[in-house]
Subunit: 344 residues, 4 copies
């Protein structure tokens, strides 16, 4: 296969490059950058020191004829423009940005403070959460790779919401992320001295991943009301934990709940359910495509706590995009992704 | 004043020592340790290299005659035994452990998995949250210094719960702490390689600070039901953030809420309320006695989010104990505590 | 005393502000900024939330009449221009930048790639290393506060070089610093994801502190040849360690060497010498004005290893500037500086 | 191939397990532990949650018949006893401990404060530094995998010392390592609160890797005198940097030196030489088998500075052991090791 990455200089693109480099079915990876074309990739990323990759200028016409898969790892607003130009040829498009995820264009405009993509491409695009949307992904020509937070949240809530066991008016999600989620650009927030030995909350009630989460939840349970979703920055580079608080509609035991989750993900190679009393930490999935989930049921309140962890750059971005690629091109879903997490 | 610290070798004791060293009204600080008496303090803490303090053996009879204030910075179970022996002399006792905080002995037994202190000393002891209990503290002979999490949570919830604006059945508290809260003892959890680049949840629904929080909340609003309280370990040394989710009973604007908080803490030198749209981070209170609070009201859900931060070793332990000491001996509340947080 | 800080928005200025706030002889601190005048200081530093300080525009004419001490915490090139305008009034100037440290203007031009200050102000300025230059500091009207690295290196080398026990051709200094040394400005290097879990070397053989170190070494021993000086970035915010390798000219025991150091710093309140076999770590001096020094003598090679640690923002910048202020205005040297380091 | 790991519960063993899991020529990995046999591996390492590996008791007789390669990732003193029992069968032994590296038994006794292995097994064992000892490794039955520090130091010094360009009396090595080098055991030193925001020096002039470094250096240049070697702990989990100071005997340009290094490692897939003016950081080799090297020549002193970085758990332990395995069993040297470093 011939693969292209547009926006290869960001963290998502660099991770994709790393993963594709070891993917047995990939013959050639081409890197594109609108701002740094002509440079060597290793001038930007010194850890790939011995690889002679030149960043190329975009040429949609040529790309769509030559490439089997085109990944877009670009900032918001780019792929809504670019995707239509890349379709209609041989290649499929997998978009890592938020541009093609929301079906309702007004919602996009409001939360992203930007103009939504055209109706046609939005209609065409399939939400790339493989554990819940596998068939559609397999036949899609455009895949909207989920956001990092939504991946952790939706895998955590999927079983209990799709079963309609959760009180739809009382979902509270407290999410925590490593700094790499803020991207490669230097800023006051990402300055080491502002981040280390610090824990902060940001975009309270205003994170653009809220409508993405709600769209899928409503797909599972039409009664879902707006959720409370808070995001925090952890002084670490990678990793997301979502701690999710659910009021159950009926009465269920913890064993029942764990069984519900185990059955929901029985066929899924990348979701691991912890046994009662055990909870994952973000290190458990470091540099891997896993999502680990633990559950607790509080006798005193009757409330369910769901703990879901991913690596935000992997299952939250690049490795999930590769999982989508595997499905889209018809190779075994785990190809090139079967790593044990890096520990310690 | 002559001051004694029992359990001076732990983090709480060492912080007390540091603060008392610069307190203008303190003449002499004596350090006691049951396990390391005879050693020089600087053999344990090399940062106090030039101070010649020897750890002394406990002698309650002598201590209660000589010392004005005796701090207990000991593990659970110690001060319930020791406090009665230290009373009846000249000195007042300030206990940093959880032994004397819970009025209900059965509740202590259950959550601490330990035997509660005697009824008499529990009755005598006053809960040392100065912002809400100042008068009682001023005349107390035994002060139970609050736990680190309860300090952040109760200062965050006090105004809205005491006003009975909060739905008493729906309090959800998601708390995050730096590692120093786990104490000085080396363990698998505190190993650097298990902590750095890691975020974990622990003691889900089982933290011993839950009954302490509920006891005070019920004091403010007798309708309070069991709360959901989750604790997480952040890869940092100091700092606690509590993100608290409140369903309001009536309808209030954010401005009203901020005003409620500003008025509640108007006279309090160590609580700072942020203006609308701003939220504190843990660095904002590093190595200080401040508790900073920010508020958000979500238009979509009507839910209030309270963000409250402290330094767990300071306002969550040692500096709050000093604030209690100031009140108990009748010096200005801010004496020796008026530091600007250390930043960066 | 009335004090002014020019360049209050950088880390050095903010630390000065924190220290001056608790200095018993300081009545009033005025903050100046050429780029952010008119703003509230707490808009830039949220940890000083309750202090209503407005950043003022510079007015040298007025400042030099009103202020007792004017600190310059400005980038290279500013104080060489500004200092002459601030002299001749009531106030003394303490410059935290590198502009007034080098007596040789050509050397400055070469290493700073900038134009040196005028001869007159350079001649007037006194190198503010109190442990080795106290008398001159006491009567100076302009004090050049030493660089962070030179402070650690020179306090470490002072006794052995001034005694001329060191082989002057073979000094090798391997220095390591926390990130705050790179300043407040966001950049690729200070991005958390580039710094955490990373250790890097920078400016190899080219650091502008090299001539400052050599100037003082040559003052002690005119035979000193150019030194090897390497600087590394440690994934932490504060702290410098200099590991210094010295070939001794004659034969000395470790005890003799330790005695030499103890005697050299006997009267110095802020230098602490470790006993044989013990070495300081950077935490030992965190947020304090101490410089801790340990020594090792290798039987096998005869080589002396000197380990010297400081807090780069404190003894390496702000608290040393305050020490210089105390000396210059004639109050007790330790006033407002007598803190125990913050640990952990 | 059938592979066994003795001491699988330590960091070295766990990394080996991770790497072998993705090695295409490895069919089966058996894990052995003398202290935790019977336990599931995932009870110790939650990140391998879905792998059902049971820790087995050691049975040397059986192991040496069944296994192709036996890795020993055991503490000092174990493999000197165990190795002789594992030889004489089908399998080759690769020892990650320091037991079989030193040819002189007295030297071992002195530096390891332990009894050396028997003469026979020491004689048999081959030093597993593939870049400098490939042929011997290919035919060895016992391979002593190099220590982490020696790997970084020797790859850094090899070209210039083997060419005898270095002054043999003046080698100074300043090494820095992440905390994982201290192993998995919880201790005061590895406590997060003692390590984070801290930089320390340890075992000054006494590290047991000193004789290992000198043995190989003397192999290259018999004139080598005892070296100065200092080790520091960096507040990070993985990574070693060695900053090495060399007085050159003759006169050489930087270009000549870089060319010397490029030619020395031309055929070596895992050593990367930086161009003039560029230096590697530890992140550049994170979770990979690379050793990256940069060089600087100081005009002023004539001194050469060599900067060499590795991942201490990879090229400094597990991945280098795998490289040795590949050579010993005759598969392509890079098999299962061809990863791009994980960044960020």
């Amino acid at each position: 296969m011939e693969i292209g990455i547009i926006g290869a200089t960001g963290y998502g693109g660099a991770e994709l490059f790393r993963l594709l480099h070891n993917h047995p079915e990939v013959k050639n990876v081409k890197l594109y950058s609108s701002t740094q074309s002509g440079e060597f990739f290793q001038e930007i990323y010194s850890h790939v020191n011995n690889k002679n990759y030149t960043l190329q200028e975009l040429n949609p016409e040529e790309m769509k004829q030559q490439l089997d898969i085109i990944f877009l790892a670009t900032p918001a607003g780019v792929s809504s423009e670019l995707t239509p130009q890349l379709l209609g040829g041989k290649g499929k498009v997998i978009d890592l940005s938020g541009d093609l995820r929301l079906k309702d264009r007004e919602t996009y405009n409001k939360w992203y403070k930007n103009t939504a993509a055209g109706e046609e491409v939005i209609e065409q695009s399939v939400y790339g959460l493989p554990e819940w949307n596998k068939e559609a992904i397999q036949s899609a020509s455009v895949i909207a790779n989920p956001g990092c937070y939504p991946t952790a949240v939706l895998l955590g809530l999927g079983p209990v919401v799709s079963k309609q066991w959760a009180d739809p008016e009382r979902l509270i999600i407290d999410a925590k992320s490593g700094i790499s989620g803020a991207g490669k650009k230097a800023s006051e927030v990402t300055h080491f001295a502002n981040t280390q030995e610090n824990f902060r909350i940001y975009k309270v009630n205003q994170h653009q991943h809220i409508p993405e989460i709600e769209q899928q939840l409503m797909h599972w349970d039409t009664d879902i009301e707006p959720v409370t979703f808070s995001t925090h920055l952890v002084p670490m580079t990678r990793g997301i934990m979502s701690t999710i608080y659910v009021d159950l509609k009926g009465s269920h035991t913890l064993d029942e709940l764990i069984q519900l989750y185990e059955e929901a993900y029985e066929q899924e190679p990348f979701v691991r359910i912890r046994k009662a009393g055990e909870f994952p930490c973000t290190r458990d999935v470091y540099a891997s495509n896993y999502c680990d989930i633990g559950l607790a049921l509080d006798d005193r309140t009757g409330r369910l706590t769901i703990v879901s962890v991913i690596d935000n750059l992997m299952k939250g971005a690049a490795s999930q995009a590769l999982q989508n690629m595997n499905l889209a091109v018809g190779v075994e879903e785990t190809t090139g992704l079967n790593h044990i997490p890096v520990y310690p």
